[in-house]
Symmetry: C2
Subunit: 213 residues, 2 copies
């Protein structure tokens, strides 16, 4: 299918559609109208139709969407019909928490390796994966067709490590380091800046308290 | 200062300004023009001026912004000049990783308590905080003036727990459970849906690969 350029705002909403459709499917719902999906997800029906029209529409209005078909199609668009090998760089608390999260596997993200520089962490087992020294990154990435690297290292080393792993063949970085990475054209980066998220919560909390005074 | 209603898009950008200004400050930079800040942050200078104008502008164009003043002002807007007591509900890997993250303290977020239902986790020590049973939530929240709850529990129990803690006095929820919470007016929720973020990365990766074929 020829796809037009889709905005990142639309892309950001796809996983949420996928989640709701997965729940409907699990509940045995076969068809759903954009109106009902709209109420469930608390977005407008016109937003849903506009979003879906980016991908050809997925089904007739009025008659509603076939839940299983829509779920599968959005999954394919998200690349979840393929598997992606990933490694985690940084075997600290957050890295280990992500390594232990089984649900990624269910979506086709396969946890293949884990790396650190700290001798105390090297050799540790995280869900069947042995933490290796970062000197072994190049060989490991090339041998194991690793596409995605999860960066859970301090921001001071993240920029340098990102540059290296891209040169070793990494195509996508899921970045938890609190720094913006500069990567070449064609390398995908998705940031999870936890502190930023907490600050946004703090803003809304403070703002609301001021309004109540 | 009377503030007008600020869009969540602007709010989302404030922590990033705060981060860059903190780095400039640490580097000893005293003043910066919106043009230079624009280059550094890879956003347009007009975006920066528009964003700052929501808060009165912070300084003259041409002459540039006073870095320390701007850093402090944005910190105040984000509520970082106050302290916020928080608890973590869910003492699994992710909850413990967040509990062990010291930088939150530096921003005024004080880690006060941790809760779980799993008898194997209760009594565990996480950076000086003892994991308590969730039956103790009500008393603890009320006695310790807890404002923020971090939810790192499965989505099956998150909705019910959120309802309870709001009734106990929690004002803000940092939600890592993979479900949308419904909370009363005035309760702040900030979601970190890790799977959604990974799926977005997967989309961009798949999309790019298709374009290259």
């Amino acid at each position: 299918m020829e796809e037009k350029e889709i905005s990142q705002a639309v892309i950001s909403r796809l996983p949420r559609y996928f989640r709701y459709l997965g729940e409907l499917k699990a509940d045995g719902v076969e068809r759903i109208s954009s109106q009902d999906l709209s109420k469930l997800m608390n977005v407008t029906a016109s937003q849903i139709r506009q979003d879906f029209n980016n991908f050809g529409g997925f089904g007739q209005q009025g008659y509603g969407y076939n839940v299983e078909f829509l779920y599968d199609e959005i999954g394919k668009i998200l690349g979840l019909d393929q598997t992606h090998n990933f490694i985690i760089i940084g075997a600290g608390n957050l890295g280990r928490a992500l390594g232990n999260y089984m649900n990624f596997e269910r979506r086709g993200f396969l946890f293949k390796g884990m790396f650190d520089r700290n001798p105390e962490l090297i050799g540790m087992d995280v869900r069947g994966v042995t933490v290796l020294h970062m000197d072994e990154l190049e060989e490991f990435i090339k041998k194991n067709a690793i596409e995605i690297a999860v960066l859970t290292i301090p921001k001071t080393s993240a920029v340098e490590v990102a540059e290296k792993i891209v040169s070793y063949g990494i195509k996508a970085i899921w970045n938890f380091a609190h720094v913006d990475l500069e990567v070449p054209e064609g390398i995908q980066v998705e940031n999870v800046h936890l502190s930023d998220s907490l600050m946004k919560l703090s803003y809304n909390l403070s703002r609301y308290k001021k309004e109540q005074e």
